[in-house]
Amino acid sequence: YLYNNRYVGDQVFRIIPSSNTEVQAVKQLLQNLTVDLWQPNSASLIRDNSPADIHVGRNKTQWLRRHLHQAHIHYEVLISNLQTEIEKQTGYRSSRKRR
């Protein structure tokens, strides 16, 4: 597997906070979580009605879902298994090399 399969089960969440209250709640959540922000590039730039795309490690996805539910913050999962998408993006090349 590419990258030693390190991204298996990782997910990318898209959150579009609908108010400043939700923005603050998302920022608060991210303070307790080590995430890779895809956009915007830092939590300080998250603002209402703009998408925040967040790459979350597999062992934190349930925690984040639960806390977003509790805060009644709508989200969608853009990528449900990052490793699969990575393999798809260039994976055929490494299988071709294997061949």
């Binding site: 898209r14 890779d36 922000l37 895809w38 956009q39 300080s44 730039l45 798809k88 260039t90």
Partner: protein, 308 residues
Amino acid sequence: SELQYDYEVYHPLEEIQSWMFEINRTHPHLVDLFSIGQSYEGRPLYVLQLGKRTRPFKKAVWIDCGVHAREWIGPAFCQWFVKEALNSYQHDSSMRRLMNQLNFYIMPVFNVDGYHYSWKTDRFWRKTRSKIPKYHCRGVDANRNWKVKWCDEGASLHPCDDTYCGPFPESEPEVKAVAKFLRKHRKRVKAYISIHAYAQMLLYPYSYKYATIPNFNCVESAAQNAVSALYSAYGVRYRYGPASTTLYVSSGSSIDWAYKNGIPYAFAFELRDTGYYGFLLPEALINPTCTETMRAIKTIASGLLKKC
């Protein structure tokens, strides 16, 4: 060889560097390859100069790709641009005119260390790979390290943050090398273009403040024409406008530095998509993304040959 090179897949750094040498070898009349310095880890910073050697002081366009390591569609576009420019020189009169009247400086991979690392270790690495002794985190955001309103709003002083501005402006050898080159050629470089992903936007100064640039009308119409040309390919819509209001405020960015340095047209492209694949844009979308972006860049370059 260059004929078999596949422009519709992503390539690791060593393949891109071999490709640059092959392009240089096979197009002696239109291409020059040179290094403008070394990266933090000692890799050469290659630039391809494209254009007919018609006269010494031609106007020039600078295009860099791969400032942020994980944005792989950037280097793919720079390679695509070179391929298209050279292959269409003979039969496309508009491209021939551009190559006769302008020089294009193409830097396919700005952040060579980070790009290499994103292939080998961490697919989502963004920054350079520099190391400050007293901190355990590596890397500086190469788009927050320029000497313009350095480390103000939208940048971080913390070395572990993805928008870390660095210990001082131009601390990164890659940024310093490009800034030095552009300062040296500032009288001839009329457009600075930096290719990023993802958001489908065309951005221009200012990034660091909510204000209007003096030549707003010229830049705004160039951007509008560019996104219209882009749209004409496959109907993909790009938003355009000042970076501070269209995306978010950020300080120390390359387009603000280029503009402050006297380059009248400074743009940052945020290529496809808007988040469905994000940084993992499939190879099947390299062709349409690069084709539409090619139209936009040609429109910007053609505009430089007219008076505004």
